[in-house]
Structures are given as C-alpha cells and as structure tokens.
Subunit: 465 residues, 2 copies
Amino acid sequence: MSSQLPAHVRAELTRVVGGEHVRADAASLDAYGQDALGQGRPPDLVVIPASTNEVAALARLCHEHRVPLVVRGAGTGYTGGAVPTRGGVVLSMERLNRILEIDETNLLAVVEPNVITADLQRAVEKVGLFYPPDPASLETCSIGGNVAECAGGPRAFKYGTTKRYVLALEAVLPTGEIVETGSKAVKNVVGYDLTQLLVGSEGTLAIITKVTLRLIPKPPARATLLALFGDIQAAVDAVTALIQRRVVPAALELVDADSLNAVRDHLGREVVPAGTGAVLIVESDGMQTAVDDEIDRVADACRAAGAMRVSLAANEGDRDRLWDVRRLLSASLKATGLLKINHDVVVPRGRVPDLFGVIQHLRDEYRLRIAAFGHAGDGNIHVNLMVDRTDPQQRARAMQAERVLFERVVALEGSISGEHGIGFAKAPYIGIELSPDVIALMKRVKNAFDPNGILNPGKIFPKAR
Amino acid sequence: MSSQLPAHVRAELTRVVGGEHVRADAASLDAYGQDALGQGRPPDLVVIPASTNEVAALARLCHEHRVPLVVRGAGTGYTGGAVPTRGGVVLSMERLNRILEIDETNLLAVVEPNVITADLQRAVEKVGLFYPPDPASLETCSIGGNVAECAGGPRAFKYGTTKRYVLALEAVLPTGEIVETGSKAVKNVVGYDLTQLLVGSEGTLAIITKVTLRLIPKPPARATLLALFGDIQAAVDAVTALIQRRVVPAALELVDADSLNAVRDHLGREVVPAGTGAVLIVESDGMQTAVDDEIDRVADACRAAGAMRVSLAANEGDRDRLWDVRRLLSASLKATGLLKINHDVVVPRGRVPDLFGVIQHLRDEYRLRIAAFGHAGDGNIHVNLMVDRTDPQQRARAMQAERVLFERVVALEGSISGEHGIGFAKAPYIGIELSPDVIALMKRVKNAFDPNGILNPGKIFPKAR
C-alpha cells in the first residue's frame, strides 16, 4: 500500500501540519482504518490539520499526486464512510473542534466539524435554543460527520434530519479551493443548492471545514411515554393508529423483543416486565398544554391497540433511563458476541406493518435471528441480522436475506438507507434502488467536484467490473 | 431568431406532440415569451407535451440539434426563469396538470407539474392534510414552478419553503433520459441528494415531470392577528421582540406605509386607519390551546413595541380580508403605473432592523420611492423600487440603488434572493454573493446535467465577457 504514498509526498504532507500532527505507527494506522462497522483498510498516513488553510494545502497535494484522501470525524459511522478502501491519507478533523459562535439574535450556531453533537446541544440549550438532530451516538459523534451522513435520530420524526438545519458550509474542494455555500439567512435561492448537495454526500465531494446551523427555540415542555405491548403487531398497530389520527409527537420509537432481551443481557437486569413483546417510546414536546393534550391522545391510541401498560416518565431521571435503553441497543446487540449486520431501511410511513411482515418472512425463510427497532414514525427501522460468526452457512443465509430485504423495501417504495449512508458496506446494493442513468448522473456530479477521484474513493458507487 | 430552429427540427418537434399542440403564431410566441417580470424574448416555437415520454423525445431532439429549450409552468415568476433569452423552444407544461394521488396513509401527494398550488392545498385539506408553502401567487402558480424556484410564502416562517416538502421527483434530463430521484420515504440517504439539487435549480438542470410531496396533518386551529403601528421602526421592534421571546408563529408579515397606500389606491378604499405607518399580520396555528397562548404572547409583544391597535380576525371572512390585502400588494404596486423593480432580499432573521436601515438610506440617498413588505420573521423582505418610467435619471439612480442594496445585504451575511431566484434579471449580480470558485463549480454541475447547454440558457450565470 505504501506505493500509494511516495516519500516526497509524505514529506510534503507532513510539512503542512508539522511532524507532531501526523501518525504513521501501525497502531494508529489500524485505529484510523476502522469505524463502527469494524472493517476497512489502514491508511498510509494520518494527518491532523489545525485550519482550513492546512486542509486546502493537504487537498491540493493529494489532488496533484493522485493520493486517496479520506476525511475522518469521530469514526462512529456504520458503513465505512470514514475509512480507506485502499490506503492513502486519512485527514482527521480532531483538532477542528470549536464552537465558534452561538448567535441568539439570529438563532444560529457556527461550528468546526469535530464538535461533538451532544456538546453543541447542551451549549445551545443553556441559552434556550435547540438543535434537534439526535443520532444514538450523539455523545461521541461529530457535527461534521452528521452533516456528511445526514444524521437522523428519534426526533427526526417531528423535526427532520440534519439537512433541515444546515444553512451554510465552508468546504475545501478536493482540488484545493476553499468555497462557501449558503448563507446565514434561512432562505436562499441564489444558484444551485450546493449546501444540500454536500449534506449526505459521505465525504466524497468536498471536505467540510465549517458548519452554520439553524437553531430553533427550545420547546418549553416535554413528556415521555412508555407503552408495553404483548407482541410486535400490537405495537405496529399503535403506530399506524397514531399516523391515522394525524398525531406527530417529537419521537415515536419502537423496540422489538430480541432487542429488549439484548439490552437485558448487556445490563444484567430486566428492563421491561416479562412477557413484553415490544415497546413504544413516545416523546411529545412544545407548549405544556399542547404536550398534555398530545400525550393523552398517544396514550389512548396505544391502549386502543392493546397496550399492556402505558406509563409516563415522572421526572427527568425516569426519562433518561427510558432513553438509555433505546441508546444502548446497538452496544447491547454488539455485546451478544454475534456478528451484527446492521441495516437502516426506510419505507413510506404507513407501510411499517408491511416492513415488519418482511422481517418476519426473513426470520422464517432464512432461519435468522433479527433484532429490529427504530424510528417507527418515519418508517425508518434498524434491522439487525444477528449472525453466529462460526457458522458460514448462517452467514451465507444472512447475505441472501440482506438482498431480499433491500428488494422488498424498494418494492414498498422505500429506500435501502435512511440514516447510515452507503459507504462501501452497501455500495454493491445501490443498483437495487437507483437506475443506471441516475448512478451515471451522480458520477458526473462527483466528477464535477473531484476530477481526479481522490476524495473517499470506493464509496457509494459499486465497483466497476 | 428562426435560424435557431431549422425547418426539419420544427417538423420533428411537431411530430412528437401533434400539430394541434404547437404554437407558432406571433401572439402566442409573444405571450409565451413573457412572465410576471414582463421581459424576455419570444420563442421560435411552443410545444405542449402530454406525457413524460413526449417530454423526453422533445429534450432529445433539442439536445441533438442544440436548440435552446425553456420549460414553462404558469409563468408567474419574477426573474424571467420561464422565458427565452434567445429564441428556441418553450416547452409548456400546461397539459401535465393532474393530481395523481393523495395518499392519506403515507401522508403524501403525487402531482404533475402544472397543478395549481391552491388547488392542491384545497384538495389535501379536504382530507385533513396540509401543504404549507403559500407563495402570494398561489391561485395561479404551479407546483412545478414552485419546485423549480423553491417557492416560499408567509408560512415558510414556521413550515419552511417548498424544498422541505419535496420527497421525490421524476425528471427528464436535457439529454433525454428519464430519471427518478428520492423516494416516498421521508428519509433517504442513498447517493447524492439530487432531489434537493433540482429544487430551486430554475429549470436549468432537468425538466420536472412528476413531484412527490410530503404532507403534514392540518393544524386543527388557527388565529390571525393584525397590529397597526405608527411607523415602520415600531413594527420592526415588535418583530425583534418576538424573535427574542422565541415565539415562532406560522406567519409574521410586515407591510410598510407605501405598500398600504398602493393597496388603498388600487382598491379605492381605505384598508387601514389614517396614520398607520406599518402593519404586522401574524398567524398562529396548531392545537387550540397552544394557538391561544401564542397569540396572547404575540399581542403582548406588539403592544410593548408600541402598537396603536391590535385586533384578532373574528372569523374566516375577516381572516381572508386581511390576507387579501397582503396578497394584493404586488398587483397594487403594479397598478401604480410606476415601474416596479422587485427584489426579495433576505438577511439573518435578527437583522431586519438593519435591513430597514439600508432601505431608508436608499430612499434618502437615491431619492427613490421604495415600498417594502414581506416575511419579516424569516428576514426576507420584498423591496420594490418604484420608478417613474418617463424619468431616465430616476431609473439610473434605481440601478445604482439596486447594486448597493445587494452589497449591503451580503455584508449583513444575507442573500440577494430568498424566493424569486436569479433567472436573467439578477444574473449580473450573483458575483456579489458567490465567489468565482463557487460559480465555476456550479457551472461544472450544470455541465454534468446538460453538456450541450440547451436547457434554459442565459439564466443564473452572468454572461461571459
């Protein structure tokens, strides 16, 4: 792999950031060669710039010498978006981690990419403002990564995903130019919307160096409800009833029995009463009177769908414990020791029952353990195929099931990824959803940004044969 | 100009749609050569296709023969986006005007581009759903045009502009391929967000033939408040106070005295009591209790800022009359007989007072009559330079003032257009806001879609020198 990086290029890259801000030892290269997916190749060199100008200088060098350049934020992604596929340079954003501005008058924040999402949320909430996107990894993931992947989270049901909050970006093109897109105004129709094009582009079009985020007033009140159901069907019925009643709470999360059991095993204590087959966590926020009204309607719908128990979080401690269960799901599933093949498919919001039908079919047909949970209100369900690593036949069945899952989701007019992106993990499958003409068009757009193809190669698009 | 369109190409184009669906008489060519801006060149031919396949065939022909192709919806735009700059073909969408689907289960609608915005709104409200974007021209403009321009309107303050509601598009590339972007799922991160790239691209990247729109539950209650102020400063103070109190009503519209007088003259009756220097129209919607609470806070803030009178619309008739005044502003200003040079600048929402300072400066410095009104909550103000057509010196001063307005708005970190787009009317000015590198990048994106540059030439980008 070091053939990717001739000694003189390595020296030039090192000169840009200074010797103390490069890593080339085996342990570092290994660490920077992995994200939450646990796959990927080590880079040849890690560079850690301190400024936009340094980023631009690094990009120019990689462009000129045609060296693969992969941008890394907090490395919490699930599809390999932040790791190399064939060596080259990892550009780590870890030193660009300051909140530059929280502007209470104009309701916005300006941040460097490596600000941790929860840190920003706490900072803005202190002054009565609110940044809604809340991916499960919010205590460890970064805003830059959230922008690159268009992160969602439970509150996306009411508040939308990251894209709805990005007003402006400073970015470095792979050819080295520093560009600014958008503005601090909440409306802007001057030229093409490059801001929204960069959001969710998985680090393949440009290197994001500064993010201007729209904030909203912090909702004055909230309430969190837990509803326990005997089986998944009853919980799904409750979701459908809520959609039909046109109730849009802040979050509407569903967790199935396999997922609950994994959390129980991981924590070493019961998290729900025995016999619980599924739970809904519903959060309402807004003005107190509206919250009270809404949560009543949610409780009614849950009871009508056959909930065994409906309870309200009595205080913030209660609430945090509820959400901890939800946020611990991924870690708990990983702790099973099984291989967790993690998908984040999404269907039109009324088709969640059909999606759970598909999941049950896959369990039966391919004899697989599948833990499913997620953002039921959005139709965005995390489907985790839990595979015994020592059983190659089971693994082969999981690969088959995976493809069938994607095909069925697209047949339901959904999408194969609602949050995690494509990276290299799902690149072989995008042809299930996108036509050859669309893929060709996306490649031409990629080429308009990155003529030498140096930025995050091997991602999104299937390998040419 | 007919040199643009050789006889054999004209014959081939005519064959696609049938002779009864082309127009080539002088009156038609004149009519299709203008939009609400009142400028533009006539096309050589108007073609009126009935299907996506016909659109694709027309695009292919224009691509092959390098004939300029301009897509036209309802022709209500203010920047010349739907009219030719140098002959060629106008492709009118008027026959693609059906609501294909209103899907109550999945909360979405699928429409052809020439559905009138208000017609869609009425249709979805009948089943308890809501499509928020409400440009002032909503009774005459079309969804396709709204998507092409990313239309806003008063309710964008709370609900966002058109882009927030577009889930998926069917579009024909200028090279003739039919592509589908996005999906019916509310989250989708598969590949680049071409949907959002097409929204607001002003008909320069692709021809939109089908639009899938996200709908939301219709708010059960609403209230509309009118506050009268002695002068514009007091009204602006009230807006600032509302932003500071973190009140986000559905709409927060400001109208200045010049604008009010124009409506009075146009209607031939007083619309506000003598001595009114500015008004705010504020609408709140949601659950009844929340609406009551919010409108109380709005009324308090208006009174604290010195409102002469604060009144609530007692019924829907009252409400409609209030909004009629707002929607008649453009027509009333036009009816003055003066040339109305219409801008839609936008500043960060807390900087509306600074923007009104700029407007006053322009009135004084360039001795101009300027009527200003608009979406104060968004910082998006319609600034109308009202010019005596018979006074070339006044017109020259207006041209100077226009440039200063744009420069000041960009200095305030705003944008030269929040709703109307660039078209050809503002193309000479985009360099004030966008850097040469950004413009070059946008041109490369344009080229990725339209290698022969046939689609809506002469728009957005300044003429090369």
